[in-house]
């Protein structure tokens, strides 16, 4: 067990290093010149340009720059913004918590609603309700998240406002609001009003995916012999489904939720942008058209690390849920 975790953590570091390297070299083969960005209005001044290039080590050979960057990242320094010279670490600290809060609630929503819907669909398979679920999950996965976000804003923010609804029936559509939380994630006061629409928007795509995969695995599990055994014991239908079916059906669902976090990160960039949520996603989105590469690179590395951690967690959870998986024996190839 311990050796397995040690090996997985090493593997994780290797992957993050690989990702960093790939992104670094992609960015630094860019045609643009970062000094222009750094200098702003002074970009015509060759002396200033030289000073700046010197300060950021932009005159060094690319491999030296890469080595320096790697060294700084290892010591926990992600560099500073080309645009406004703020430290990337500070930006990360400012935005990370907002993103994690949003992501937490989206995950709660995704897991509860997604799994519940999938079970309902599987138990009532081929019923009207099941067809409705099938069609709506397909629809949700086809609707662009930002369009869904705008649709929510129009329905719950703009329209109630235009029609003179009382204020408690209107939801705000912009920003994080009072930013008041209890125990890190529980919204207090009016905070939930700011949270709910972006959280549902962020969860939408994954909820549909989870619902669909839960339905499929539940239907597969339903055919398993041990379900018949459970019924032959005299268990109630509910105990059969929850105690014997769901436990088995959840195994692939957990893996899927972890893999899907890659998608969630993409969705988060769009959701945070549409709702002006001050998280990592909207910050990256803002940095991209500005070509503020140190921000993009630094935040991307943080996000990749989070993604890798989530995958590690899922592997451990998988081994916990499925006793047939022996950690260590199968570790490397999975």
């Amino acid at each position: 067990m311990t050796t397995y975790i040690v090996r997985r953590v090493l593997q994780l570091l290797l992957v993050v290093w690989g990702a960093l390297t790939i992104i670094f070299f992609l960015f630094f083969t860019l045609p643009g010149d970062p000094t222009e960005l750094l200098l702003g209005s002074e970009k015509a001044n060759p002396v200033a340009r030289e000073l700046v290039a010197e300060r950021y080590g932009l005159n060094d050979p690319i491999l030296v720059q890469y080595g320096n960057y790697l060294l700084r990242v290892v010591t926990g320094d992600l560099g500073e913004s080309f645009k406004d010279r703020t430290s990337v670490n500070e930006v990360l600290e400012r935005t990370l918590l907002a993103s994690l809060r949003l992501g937490f609630w989206a995950l709660v929503f995704e897991i509860t609603l997604g799994i519940a819907t999938g079970i309902y669909s599987a138990v009532r398979k081929y019923s009207f309700g099941d067809s409705l679920v099938t069609v709506s999950t397909a629809a949700v996965s086809a609707i662009p998240v930002y369009v869904l976000g705008l649709l929510f804003q129009r329905t719950f923010g703009v329209l109630p406002n235009q029609n003179g609804f009382p204020s408690w029936l209107q939801l705000p559509t912009n920003g994080i609001g009072p930013d008041t939380w209890f125990l890190l994630v529980i919204p207090t006061g009016d905070q939930w009003k700011y949270l709910i629409l972006p959280a549902i928007t962020l969860a939408s795509v994954s909820t549909a995916v989870v619902a669909r995969i839960t339905r499929t695995t539940m239907i597969d599990v339903e055919k398993a012999d041990y379900m018949r055994t459970a019924r032959a014991k005299g268990l109630s239908e509910r105990s059969v489904l929850v105690g014997h079916g769901l436990r088995n059906a959840l195994i692939p669902v957990v893996t899927l939720i972890a893999i899907d976090i890659g998608t969630v990160i993409g969705v988060a960039i769009l959701t945070e942008t549409v709702f002006n949520w001050p998280g990592i996603g909207s910050r990256i989105a803002r940095a991209i058209p500005q070509r503020d590469f140190s921000i993009i690179l630094g935040l991307s590395i943080a996000v990749t690390l989070l993604y890798a951690l989530a995958n590690l967690l899922a592997d451990l959870l998988y081994a916990y849920l499925d006793p047939r998986v022996r950690l260590g024996a199968k570790g490397v190839d999975r």
Binding site: V15, T29, Q153
Partner: protein, 299 residues
């Protein structure tokens, strides 16, 4: 899964399934899926609209009709209304089909070809090449998709071509993995050994003998990646890092008009709805193909 058992003495077990039968079978199966047929009809309609866009539209999508600004849908000749500078929304949407379909088909086609080639070579030859390629794929898959795409866009610059190339470069991993797995599994089987014994060339064995067995997942994944590429291009354009402004991209239209959500919501929801319907059509077609081409689901 239960396969009908052939009587042991029958020669039928030794003959290969004939190819025309396979496709007509698949088509029969496909036609039973109403959503898939609807999706296909919708896509054909889109292609026709895209080809005849200049004939169908009255206004140029770039033309600014200063007298006809902020029009609601169904206002005279402006069937979908106009935006706040006087662009005809119907023209923008119809020309937008060209962009979306071009991106979708190009990306699906080339990322599938790239993925299939790399996967086939990796799986068939194995060895160092295989290890290097697969570790590379692992690395790429460890980076969240959007960040990788953004990195490629960063290198290639903005614009339609850059978007297409970036999406091709980030789109081949899954196909490569699937094709590799199938090649790994099949290359040891007897029909491949037999082909080798007959002295067939490697490329003939790879592409005439093994590849047809991998067609089902390749075709299904390619169809779904049309949908994925259309969504991705729209999202990149929405984030202002996709195609450049005069190009009528639906995602760009949503981004440009999202400030008018309160007054002119159709400016957001018409292009948004166009993305939605187009993507949905490809998803339905993909699902239909999956069932139609799956040998286990045929009666």
């Amino acid at each position: 899964m239960s396969l009908p058992l052939l009587p042991a003495t029958s020669d039928a077990a030794l003959t290969l399934p004939d190819v025309p039968g396979f496709w007509s079978d698949a088509w029969r199966q496909y036609r039973r899926n109403r959503l898939a047929v609807t999706g296909l009809v919708f896509i054909v309609l889109l292609i026709i609209l895209a080809i005849f866009a200049p004939v169908i539209t009255i206004y140029d999508y770039e033309a600014i009709n200063t007298d006809d600004r902020n029009l609601s849908p169904l206002s005279g000749d402006h069937w979908f209304g106009t935006d706040n500078v006087g662009h005809d929304v119907f023209s923008q949407i119809v020309y937008g089909i060209r962009v979306s379909l071009l991106v979708g088909f190009m990306v699906a086609l080339f990322s599938t070809i790239l993925g299939t080639l790399l996967g086939a070579v990796s799986g068939y030859f194995g060895g160092t090449l295989d290890s290097v390629l697969m570790r590379l794929v692992d690395m790429f898959l460890a980076i969240p998709y959007i960040i990788l795409t953004v990195a490629f866009i960063g290198v290639l610059g903005r614009g339609l071509n850059a978007v297409i190339i970036a999406l091709i470069l980030t789109g081949w991993f899954v196909t490569a993995r699937v094709v590799r797995a199938i090649f790994l599994q099949l290359k040891e089987q007897e029909f491949v050994q037999a082909a080798r014994a007959l002295g067939y060339s490697r490329s003939r064995i790879m592409f005439r003998h093994i590849l047809p067995n991998a067609l089902q997942p390749i075709i299904v994944y390619a169809t779904l990646s049309v949908a994925g590429a259309i969504l991705a291009e729209a999202a990149l354009s929405f984030l202002a890092i996709g195609v450049l402004p005069p190009t009528p991209s639906w995602g760009l239209l949503v981004a440009e008009n999202k400030g008018l959500l309160a007054t002119l919501p159709h400016l957001v929801f018409f292009p948004g709805g166009a993305i939605f319907l187009t993507v949905l059509a490809f998803v339905f077609v993909g699902d239909g193909l999956r069932d139609a081409l799956d040998p286990r689901l045929r009666g």
